[in-house]
């Protein structure tokens, strides 16, 4: 094996471990929110359907993972996304993995959920990843009336307690204010 082969494999193994950790974190978020009456709208789905073609390697690894939650009101949603790679809809390069959390109100309950709702990545340029909520009206004229979103660097979340304190508890609070 060449001198770079071993660190290359270690890096690839680390990416797999990273995805495992993201999975565990999102499952933990599921648990925290379900206890508060917010249920995932999809049983296990967490990544967008990617392109898999030979000439589309940017789609071989997802650029983000997400979960979307609903309560009794079918028009209000909550989302937690983790962005860590190539996201076609996001204009700016991602400097570090980050969490994008959002509460949003759809035009009506019949509006179909799309995976990009799970990250609200269309307007993350307004965020400083400092946890401060950003409110926005008329997010998408025909789909989403208004939203509150905030972001954190992923490395800020080191355990379940952090996830609760910095992500799920603020989401629940902001859902009351939406």
């Amino acid at each position: 094996m060449s001198k770079n082969g071993i660190p290359m494999q270690k890096s690839l193994d680390a990416v797999r471990q990273f995805l495992t950790d993201v999975s565990l974190m999102l499952q933990t978020a599921d648990g925290l929110l379900m206890r508060e009456g917010w249920n995932p709208i999809e049983k296990t789905r967490a990544i967008p359907r990617g392109k898999q073609g030979l000439d589309q390697p940017e789609g071989w690894m997802p650029g983000y993972a997400y979960r979307i939650y609903e309560q009794r009101s079918k028009s209000i949603r909550m989302s937690i996304g983790v962005l860590f790679g190539h996201v076609p809809e996001f204009e700016h390069p991602i400097e570090q993995p980050f969490i994008s959390a959002a509460v949003y109100k759809k035009v009506n309950a019949k509006v179909k959920d799309v995976c990009s709702d799970g990250t609200m990545h269309g307007w993350h340029e307004t965020l400083n990843l400092d946890g401060k909520p950003v409110k926005k009206d008329d997010v998408e004229e025909k789909r989403i009336l208004k939203a509150i979103t905030f972001g954190w660097p992923l490395v800020k979340i080191e355990n379940e307690a952090d996830l609760k304190q910095f992500v799920t508890d603020p989401l629940i609070q902001q859902a009351k204010e939406l």
């Binding site: 660190p7 290359m8 990273f18 974190m25 499952q27 379900m34």
Partner: protein, 257 residues
Amino acid sequence: MIQALLKGKLKREQENMEDILTSNVFGVLMLMPVEIGLLPFLACAENVLGQADKPLADLPHETTAEYDYWPRWRTQQGNILQPDLVIRLNQPDGKKNIILIEAKYNSGKSSKADEEKPFNDQLAKEYQALEAKALDEGREPYFIYLTAGIAPPMKEMNDSAAVYHRENTKAEFLPLWLSWRQISRVFRGRPEVGSKELVKLADRLNLLYFEGFKTFPELPTELWHFNKSPSTKTEDGVRKFFNDNRPTGQINWRFKI
């Protein structure tokens, strides 16, 4: 069997069978002293439909346990039920418990209610059968739904509660929920025989909790890449596929046309 799983001797579909997982885990637990094996695990079982308490958290260390795997129970309606595991606990002060464990790994309930069979819900049927058995034996019953999730399967359990209450309007339906993942928390770092095997099993099956993000290794200072496009010929006309300066020699074969 647990060694076969840990050494990778089982097929993946065998590893994924909940019966084998049940057999492996409780087979180890029943060989460990009850106060460091079974009781700490049961202590994590949580009442998620009620007041979110853990009613098995303070069982006395002197408690003894009897295991009955896949017993065949005949219900009052004459049907046969086969829960995964029934554990009878005898406490030193004379209190007696009967614990039914319905274990799942990658699957959900084996039967659900529908219009033709409105009481055909696995958890509701077993819960009702457990109550009858507990009454017969003079034991306090606990029903544990053991699953692989980090989060409790609230929808499944609420659906079962609704089915149960259709026939038992005044009784409470309060199953406990326990996750296989508690193995990794309860037994990790413990020195006793059995603990290490259980933790290895949890690691192998990825039955873990979120503990933060692991550190990335340092990347090599010189990132690897193809030296040139594989289709590029060098000056001597020889195609090179590697960047380690090994002589590649003349390629003297070709695909048949």
